[in-house]
């Protein structure tokens, strides 16, 4: 059972994680900024509650070849919607890449690749 009793410590941890590329928190913050929405809206998009959003944010962000497997694992852990999470992560990565390199592929192409690789359905993994 996860303890979220020490809110102050967790809040401070989340603030740190938002500034670190390693964590999902960084992607969630970037998504919220890109769409000009708050955390509650992000949670709604991902179909998870506030505690789930904290658990999700403190996960290591999926990387490389293991992207689809990581997304499934994180989505089951939080829990949240795996497809929505994959979409969010790919979009943020694409936007970040676009800002650094104008030759990068578009987000939808990344999402299509994820879906074909992993066979993720649009269901809730919780």
């Amino acid at each position: 059972m996860v303890s979220l009793s020490n809110k102050k410590l967790i809040t401070r941890t989340l603030e740190r994680a938002k500034t670190d590329f390693l964590f999902v928190a960084h992607k969630l913050a970037a998504y919220a900024a890109n769409h000009a929405v708050d955390e509650a809206a992000v949670a709604t998009f991902l179909r998870c509650d506030s505690d789930g959003l904290v658990r999700l944010a403190l996960c290591r962000a999926p990387q490389g070849d293991g992207f689809a497997v990581d997304v499934r694992r994180i989505a089951a852990f939080a829990p949240c919607d795996a497809e929505a999470l994959a979409q969010l992560l790919r979009e943020v990565d694409a936007v970040i890449a676009l800002r650094h390199d104008s030759r990068v592929t578009v987000p939808m192409a990344a999402r299509d690749r994820f879906e074909s690789d992993a066979g993720v359905e649009g269901d809730d993994c919780g």
């Binding site: 996860v2 303890s3 009793s5 967790i10 401070r12 941890t13 964590f23 996960c59 293991g66 694992r73």
Partner: protein, 206 residues
């Protein structure tokens, strides 16, 4: 809620090494409160402070970024993280103490100068001339005998312009020119006396 067991820490380390993306989340939500509690018990004055929380977060962040830096054959993960957090907190507190001391020192210097000025006040010419030490120091910087004579007249309380004009050997000049020359000489001596007064009282010289 009971703290995570040593077995839990061992398994978490294995999960992190295996690339489990959810391991950091478990570490932060379950181990961080445990570590903060242990470190806080050794530093009770800093329990629940940002400094203590940051020390725990720093220790966990460093470990998550480089889990292979931890040698499981040497110590348990929990002890390793507690030690790292304690060291981080000690360094933070030392730096803060040093900053406070430097600030106190700076405040002391400024306060002392302000108190000295308040206690002594800005001296009048009579006050300056009454100080034998000050006059002796000023004389060293007045090599011209005419200036020395003017200083003596000032000490004697002389106020007449013709007396100063005589001391400066300018009695033959028109009275207006005498007045200007006498005033210039008196002002120069006053500036000299005030400069030495500030030196003696430890104030910066303008």
């Amino acid at each position: 809620m009971s703290r995570p067991t040593d077995q839990w820490y061992r398994e978490l380390h294995d999960r992190l090494l295996a690339g489990d993306p959810t391991a950091p989340s478990d570490l932060f939500t379950m181990a961080a409160p445990d570590l903060a509690n242990v470190v806080g018990s050794r530093y009770p004055r800093h329990r629940n402070t940002d400094e203590l929380h940051d020390s725990v977060i720093d220790a966990l962040m460093a470990y998550i970024h480089r889990p292979d830096a931890y040698d499981s054959s040497r110590a348990g993960l929990r002890g390793y993280l507690i030690l790292a957090a304690r060291r981080d907190l000690q360094n933070t507190l030392k730096k803060r103490e040093l900053r406070t001391r430097l600030q106190d020192l700076s405040d002391d210097v400024e306060l002392q100068a302000a108190r000295r000025k308040e206690a002594v006040g800005e001296p009048t010419l009579e006050d300056l001339l009454a100080s034998g030490q000050l006059v002796a120091r000023a004389r060293v910087h007045l090599p011209d005998p005419a200036d020395q004579r003017v200083l003596d007249l000032l000490i004697d309380g002389e106020r007449r312009t013709e007396a100063f004009a005589h001391a400066l050997s300018i009695a033959a000049l028109p009275s207006e020119e005498q007045r200007v020359a006498v005033k210039r000489c008196k002002d120069r001596i006053k500036v000299l006396l005030r400069r030495h007064w500030r030196e003696i009282n430890g104030e910066p010289i303008e």
